[in-house]
Symmetry: C2
Subunit: 320 residues, 2 copies
């Protein structure tokens, strides 16, 4: 079943959030308006708002209250994607980063800043101080994750712990906070919003591990980029860490650099796959999913609970 | 009299703020810790915290409450300076921007993001929703100012209005918000904190215009960069706009480009000065100062009021 079908009953409210997102980034500046809107529209599934709305249904669901959390989180997510796209030296070195793209870089940075700032404006409508603390904390962790990702590039000796902490910061906490803030702004008890935080955290971990697996297993058409792109860019993910337990394979993986040829890369990808590391990483992802389901068990039965479980399963098992 | 001497009675509280600033940016990551600390320490006069503290003295002054506003504003200011320093194409074109500096660029961006996020954490300690609205608004305007500055570069046909709006966004509003938030967090009446907002706004406008004048009149040693650097980088400031009222001079100014030689630039700077535009810009700066003093008049007599007036005078009349 397609992901979107699972929460079609939220469509009216998601459309409202779409309008609020567009309203939030309105700017006189045409460059900024177009850049922000383009970014927002290429944003995709709105999975964070979906989590906010579903979690809010465990409390006093009022779309005009919870929408603020949904819009804030989606803007923060989009802003972080923009900053993620600001090219680093690897792109420069390829020689294709012209002065034009460099100028775009600076504009991209400020467009991201602008979206962060707009997120704060929407956030200021939320009155609960705890919500502000959670959001600020999430943003700090997100930045730490981004900086770690730069630092950890091509570090073939990094530990699994480093990897897990990085994906927690870069991905899982934002999903965890989406769940928690949805519940919190709908006035649930601490037990419920903390439980939903943990649920979101585990789902986020599983989501990112699956993403890192798909970078090896999905086709170039499905990914929109060649398989193994993460590794080529120096991002060491779980399948690689598992494969590198074999010293011979580690020596092979360490030959990866950004200018590696397509053929050489294909050999390395196949060697990684042959270790069974993809399957093992899949087991870790499933383990996180199980933990997510366990958190749901403590929640009262509802359509929302059922949907959260279905989304989690869909996210963890997706093929691309 | 030196600026710092004017508010030496705040020294104990400013030292506390210094410690809080350092504590706020603590990070496990050594790169991040060093980068943030370096930036903070090169930050200078802490004029925004000074405004926060002085404004707070019109209410129930409690350093342990108002410090949060002071730290938040200084962190936002520092973060915006970091992003300001992310090189644009002009720096690249000069050929000196190596891969190393490009990598630094990306780290600089995330260090700025990190400081913004830490600012939010401190801000979350402030309970007044109005304070959050003001801070969010200030950050949105700051971003708009940054983006306008990029867009308006080398636009010799921009209006004075464009210039005034840009310096309002880039400089004046942050000082205005510092004054307002100091008062607000100390629980003053709306009349007082709004009056202090206007005071800060006018001081900020005067401050920036003076800054733009000094770029022409101060020595290279005082500025730490050659005179006329703003214009060379395409930033059209008030002295230039006034000078360009003369069509002949406008034609000359339009020949400025980033690779212009030192000698050619000297000719243009002298031509601009010869129009009397520096003095006229100085009058505009003084006019803003007058407006600032007028706002102070409505406030009860106090040491704080006297100091604000002295700082304003000092800032508007400074020689470098």
């Amino acid at each position: 079943m397609k992901l979107k079908m699972l929460y079609s009953f939220l469509n009216t409210d998601l459309q409202l959030i779409e309008k609020e997102l567009e309203a939030a980034i309105q700017a006189e500046s045409p460059v900024l308006r177009e850049a922000s809107l383009h970014l927002l529209q290429s944003g995709g599934k709105r999975i964070r708002p979906v989590f906010v709305l579903l979690a809010a249904q465990f409390g006093n669901y009022d779309i005009h209250v919870v929408k603020n959390a949904a819009v804030t989180l989606e803007l923060i997510h989009t802003a972080s994607l923009v900053h993620d796209d600001v090219v680093d030296d690897s792109d420069l070195r390829r020689g294709s980063a012209t002065i034009k793209s460099k100028w775009d870089n600076r504009v991209a940075m400020y467009t991201g800043d602008y979206m962060f700032a707009r997120a704060l404006e929407v956030m200021a409508r939320i009155e609960d101080p705890l919500a502000h603390k959670i959001l600020a904390r999430t943003m700090v962790e997100l930045c730490l994750g981004e900086i770690e990702q730069i630092k950890d590039k091509f570090d073939f000796d990094q530990t699994w712990r480093t990897y897990f902490r990085r994906i927690k910061r870069k991905t899982a906490l934002l999903i965890a906070s989406s769940c928690q803030l949805g519940a919190l702004t709908a006035g649930t008890s601490a037990d419920i919003h903390q439980r939903l935080f943990r649920f979101g955290y585990y789902v986020g971990m599983s989501y990112q591990i699956t993403d890192d697996i798909l970078d090896f297993t999905a086709s170039e058409k499905e990914l929109g980029k060649p398989a193994g792109s993460d590794l080529r860019q120096g991002n060491i993910t779980l399948p690689v860490l598992i494969a590198m337990q074999d010293p011979k394979l580690k020596a092979l993986v360490k030959t990866v650099h950004e200018q590696i040829s397509f053929d050489e890369m294909t050999v390395i990808i196949e060697a990684i796959k042959a270790t069974g590391s993809i399957e093992k990483a899949g087991e870790v992802s499933k383990m996180y999913l199980k933990k997510a389901f366990a958190q749901l068990e403590g929640l009262p039965a509802s359509r929302s609970k059922k949907t959260l479980a279905e989304i989690a399963k869909n996210i963890g098992n997706r093929k691309f």
